[in-house]
Amino acid sequence: MMENNLLKKLLSIRGMGQVITVGIGLIIMCLVFGIINPLFFSPVNIANLLRQIAPILLIGIAQSFVLITGNIDLSIGSVVGMSCMVSATLMTRGVDPWVAAGITMVICLFTGVLNGFLVSGCKLPSFIATLGTMTIARGVAQIVNNNYNTNLIGDGPVANAFRDFFYYGKTFGIFNGIIIAVVLWFIFNFLLSKTRTGRHIYATGSNLEAARLSGVNTLHTVIKAYVVSAFCSGIVGLITCATTGMGTMDAGNSYELYAVAAAVIGGVSTLGGQGILLGTVVGACIWGALANGLQFAGAPVAIRNIVIGIIVVLSVFMDVIVRTRRTDKTKSKTTMKPTMVKAS
């Protein structure tokens, strides 16, 4: 009785349908990998797989926030790279890792504010604005240590504490990377689904003008979304730095596209206003499990690209079909020309 109600309530959440469909796909996929190579389900690999999913989940969250406002963030990958390089450079120059991480995050957040301002304040198309910041942030990543990867960030206890905190350490037997991603997911899921800011993000993506007329400060809302995006990307940069123990200039390459894929597979619409972060979890899991599982299955890299491409197209295709069906019924989002005055 109780469970039944809960189930009903779960199903009534919008976007849950796509999440469940894709979730079933994920389970089937994992089973297939498990059959091909039973080690796929070994505890070591599960822990490992989850740790590999963590950064994808984080950039997925980043992209989801921006996509829901009806925009896109192409700078995610470069911000990851910038965060990795800036923090590592500071550390190799003797700055305390925690201070370095703090400075790095401030720079990343600034990039987020800049993105939001260019898109919402200056009204640049988000694709172009963030294409610009993407190039610039990558440039910063390259120039900060004079166009070289950094040396090791150090082997001292503080550096090791930093590396353990973001990647190598465990808490309650779980890798810290996973814990960080899960905690941030809960925070941002709460922000998106339960708070005023979250509502504003959906409203802005659904109908910017209507949101504005309802008293929503759409400029601030879009900036907030980009700041969340930059925050998550910055954290992934720190995780990458902790993982490799150094700054690499091409860290995070193409992450913005993985992020779009994870979000979209999970049901976040690129047209704005739609999607839930639970979907992003499933999308990130599919992405991570594919990479890991195909390696376990011994498939060459090329096959992986083809499989991933097909999965992306198919999952959006499904989404569009579902949405079209609903749109027909409700006549929403038709591209009516505005306001011809009609006497009645």
């Binding site: 959906y202 109908n207 949101a211 007329l213 206003g273 027909d328 019924k329 989002k333 006497a343 009645s344």
Partner: protein, 500 residues
Amino acid sequence: MADYIVTMEHICKSFSGVKALDDVSFYLRSGEVMALLGENGAGKSTLMKILSGVYTRDSGEITIFGKKVGDMTPHKAQALGVAIIHQELNMCSHLTVAENIFLGREKCRGGILTDKEMNEEARRLLNRLKIDIDPQTVVGDLSVSKQQMVEIAKALSTDARVLIMDEPTSALTSKEIDELFAIIRDLKKNGCGIVYISHRLEELQYIVDRVTIMRDGKFITSAAFKEITMPEIITNMVGREIKEKFPRVKTKRGQKVFEVKNINAGKMVRDISFELYEGEIVGIAGLMGAGRTETTRAIFGVDPKDSGEIFINGEPVTINCPMDAIKAGLVLAPEDRKKDGLCTGLSIKENIALPNLDILCNGLGVVNQKKETEMIEKAVTSLNIKLSNPENDAASLSGGNQQKVVVAKWLARNSKVVIFDEPTRGIDVAAKVEIYNIMNELKQEGIGVLFVSSEMPEIMGISDRILVMCDGRITGELDQENVTQNAILEYATRFESKVV
């Protein structure tokens, strides 16, 4: 029978289960103007969109010039000599007038577009129609009424023998309307059959030969215009009697709640000053394009103001964005619910809650779900919104109920002043009365109501006081007792200088 150039028989069309057309038949002769009449949503546009190939019918038969045609496409319709002027503007705003006119049937020589020729031909066409537009202007740079004229010219350029005009005059000036009528008479003489859809019944007498009336997707009657009276037409259209079309309640006028002084914003809002008292509905009347919508937007802080002051309860308030206005107790239900009113894709609940999140959230910005549910339940019952589940997409509601949601958004909070901009646009008669009742309730609660409308009967029927606007200025004020249509019209046409 034999001289019908278009026959449509037993046409049915559903949109996802909702029947928009139910066994409708329609006949058109050559050389006649057929008025297609009916309330909003009666299915007029849908029927004509089927004839012009925009939609495909579910069942029924279409015969054009004696030939049965199967599924129509816009292209096929063009080839058959059927042209349509759509109700909504449909122009490629980046292209020039001539390019738009010839879109889809560009003239080519050896595969090369002959732009010079097309420009010349467009120029000749526009001259013939006495439309003063350079064919090489980009359409996006034209005013709405000019764009509408271009659309008409485009339809005429096809040498169509069947011409469908879906509310062509709704965006035209009176001079342009006269020109259009002259063109229509011309076409009639040349044997063209014309379908004319309009809600301006007074226009019909100048051009129409026959009328076909529809209601709720069904064919009701068809008759020669001379043999049917206007009251008969209206009864056939509405299909029911509305007892009290404009319910009015009496209240005592209270304190001054709202005052606007010398507001200027752009060219369409010039030196606007007025005041509003508790428990009163003030109507704002005017011709289309008088700047009423712009005025409300400027007051509400949507568009920037150049100058002016606003007082609520005698206190000056600064309004630079809608949030300022909302905080000060002033709300606006905007004119265009699709564009400005609703977030489609979000639930009904979320739409109603959106402007009230400041009330519904705790200090940390977390939405109180319980309070939210209560608020929505209250709004739904008090406005009698017909819905199955408040979690459903707002777009799943019918137009009238969507409009109610737009209104409901603003009633959940204790505002002092409520502005309604064309709240009854596009909704049926019964729903209209419900909206009037809501306004009356607000009035009784002592809230100041500002009511913008283009419909004279309703503005005269509901308002306690009427302000008339022309050319971005307030040109007159009328009391409920001594208001007449002519008085309103007189003020509404007080232009500063003669507009060309």
